[in-house]
Symmetry: C2
Subunit: 162 residues, 2 copies
């Protein structure tokens, strides 16, 4: 699900502000790396971001992508999505949202629900610590995997992109 071009521009602009506020430099590479994450509405892994950025910035190196993505994460400008047996993914969607992850192909979609954003947690959680964030994670079979193929398989594949 690619994101609207105007939205992407806004997001990139907001990143610039975030970087400046944090006192780090706003470089061409950082903007393009972020744009790549923001552009795909999905949750690209490092490799996917790298390949995407390289189309526009052929000299960019993989370790720069790593450093930029972790920088954004540490500054709270993007978030991460970690799935067993898969590479770490990055997410520019900072609005409250929840995840549906396909256990077969690994596809991860965001979904929204005002109700789930404001769940009341049981008292026992208060004893564990201070809550910062709360998300519902749903696992299941995506439409494509649910139909046609054998649901007992357990292969997990990351989204392929040129």
């Amino acid at each position: 699900m690619p994101r609207d071009e105007e939205d992407v521009r806004q997001l990139v602009e907001r990143l610039g502000v975030g970087l400046r506020d944090a006192g780090v430099r706003v470089t061409h590479q950082r903007l393009e790396i972020f744009r790549e994450v923001a552009k795909s509405g999905g949750h690209p892994d490092v490799e996917t971001v790298f390949r995407g950025v390289r189309k526009r910035v052929p000299t960019v190196s993989l370790d720069t992508v790593y450093r930029a993505l972790w920088l954004f994460t540490d500054l709270g400008l993007i978030t991460t999505l970690s799935l067993p047996r898969e590479r770490l993914r990055f997410d520019a969607n900072m609005k409250p949202h929840h995840h549906f992850v396909c256990t077969k192909c690994g596809m991860a979609s965001d979904f929204y629900s005002e109700e789930l954003d404001h769940l009341r947690l049981p008292g026992s959680v208060r004893d564990l610590g201070v809550v910062q964030k709360m998300q519902v994670e749903v696992r299941g079979l995506c439409r494509d995997c649910a139909e046609g193929t054998d649901p007992t398989q357990r292969t997990q594949r990351k989204e392929e992109e040129l």
Copy 2:
């Protein structure tokens, strides 16, 4: 939070049944590897399991631990817990539960809530696919990290064990 010894025995026994049902062999190593996961109420990573098992089975090798843990996972006898910037962890708790994860030290606790077990999901999820499982993931600062120390730090450390 270590688990009660009798509970552990029951869990290990149930694993034996699971393995037999799946038509794979019930070996000493597999039982001990599982016991190590079941014993710690926590969510040990591969290395932690390995070190624990080696105390009782000094000849066990790391790759056997890997193979066993993935086997159990594939058979649905344990589950995994994946956190950004951390090693994958394993969880013998197959009862419905939810997670509280400390963003600073990485500590992960289970908590329970009948209400959260039966959340009603928004209609948009139906369009994404077929739901198999649903879990709430809470991020925050655990009691130890919340008090005394600077909450702006972002260090993540895995639970240390001999």
